[in-house]
Subunit: 171 residues, 2 copies
Amino acid sequence: METNLTEAPAVSASESEAETPWLTAAEQRFWRAHLEVSKLLDYQLSRELQPHNLAINDYEILVVLSEAPDRRMRMTDLATATLQSKSRLSHQITRMESAGLVLRQECPGDRRGLYANLTDLGWETMQKVAPDHVRSVRQHFVDRFTPEQIDAMYQALAPVAEHLRGLRGRG
Amino acid sequence: METNLTEAPAVSASESEAETPWLTAAEQRFWRAHLEVSKLLDYQLSRELQPHNLAINDYEILVVLSEAPDRRMRMTDLATATLQSKSRLSHQITRMESAGLVLRQECPGDRRGLYANLTDLGWETMQKVAPDHVRSVRQHFVDRFTPEQIDAMYQALAPVAEHLRGLRGRG
DNA sequence: CAGATATTGTACAACTTTTAACAAACAGGG
DNA sequence: CCCTGTTTGTTAAAAGTTGTACAATATCTG
C-alpha cells in the first residue's frame, strides 16, 4: 500500500532503460490510485473504529472468529486466515484476552494446540460494532461505485487475489 | 486493508437489523477481494524489496524525494506526501540517514525547518531498485488486468481517492 | 514592535510488530 | 520403542510506530 516509482525515473540508468518495462501513464495513475485508496481507506476505517476501542486487526479477529464453527479457531488457522505471523497473533490474542474479548482454550486431541474462543463479550462487541463499520465501508468505499463497477472490479480482482494467495507460504 | 464483517452477522441483534445497510453478496465479495489483494500485494512487494534492504516505506521516501525539485523536501511536506505522522517520519529519516540514503539539511529562510535531501547513494539506490520493483508491480498486479480494466478501475477509484484525501486532516 | 498564536521538528514513553530461539507435543521409520 | 524431524504456540529482545509534550522559530494583530 505504500509504493511508487514504477514509471521511468527522471534520469534512467542507460543499461536498465532498454529492459525495464516501466508503467505507461494509464497504468501508473491506476496503480497510484489503488495505493492511495488502500492506504487512506485503512486510515479512515481505523479512525472510525477507535470510539469502540478496537483496532482494525482486533475487529478482523472478531469477524473471523464469529464466523467460525463454535466461534473458535486454532491459533495457527487464525494466523493464516488473518495473514499474520504466529508471534504477532499470539501477542494480539493476549491483548484481546486481557480485554475479555477472547479466551484461550486447550485443544482436546492435540495437546500442543490452543483454540482462540470468542467470549460472550466478544460476540456482543461484534454485534454492536459491525453496523457502524458497514456504514463506514459503504460511505467511504462501496457506495461510491455503481453495481456494474462493483461486479467488474470483483471479476478483475478475484484472479489476482488467487495468484497472491498462491505465492503466500512459498516464496 | 484488514477489515470484514460487513454482511449481516450470523445472528443479528434485532434492533439494528432493520437499520443496518448490510452489504449484498456482490458487494461483500468485492470488498473482501479488495482487502485481500491490498494486503497480500503489500506483503509480496515488501518481500521482493527485502534483498535490497529496503522496506516499502523506505522505497516510498526515495521515490517521492527523487521526484521532488532538487531531490529534497521539507519534513512536513514529506510527511504529508507519504501519509505519515511527523513523528514517524522523523524516526524513519533518522534511520535512512544512518543508512546514508538521505541527509537532513538546514532550511534557509525558515530556521525551524529542515530539508530531507536525497544523497547520491540514495539516488543510485533508487536507480538500482526501481526496475526490480516495477517488475514486481507488473507481475503481481498490473499485468493481470486488461487495458480496459485498468482504465475502468482508475475511473472508479479516482473519485474515491479524492474523497478520502478530503477527509484526511479534518475528521 | 509587543504579545499572543501557530508551525516545525524532535524526544520521550507507551505500545505493537518482528525476529529468532525455544519447549512441548506429535508423527513416522527403523 | 527410540530417534529424527516437524508442528504448535510462546517468549525475550530488538525494531518500529504512535501520541503527547516541548523548545525553537515564525507569523499575525493590534
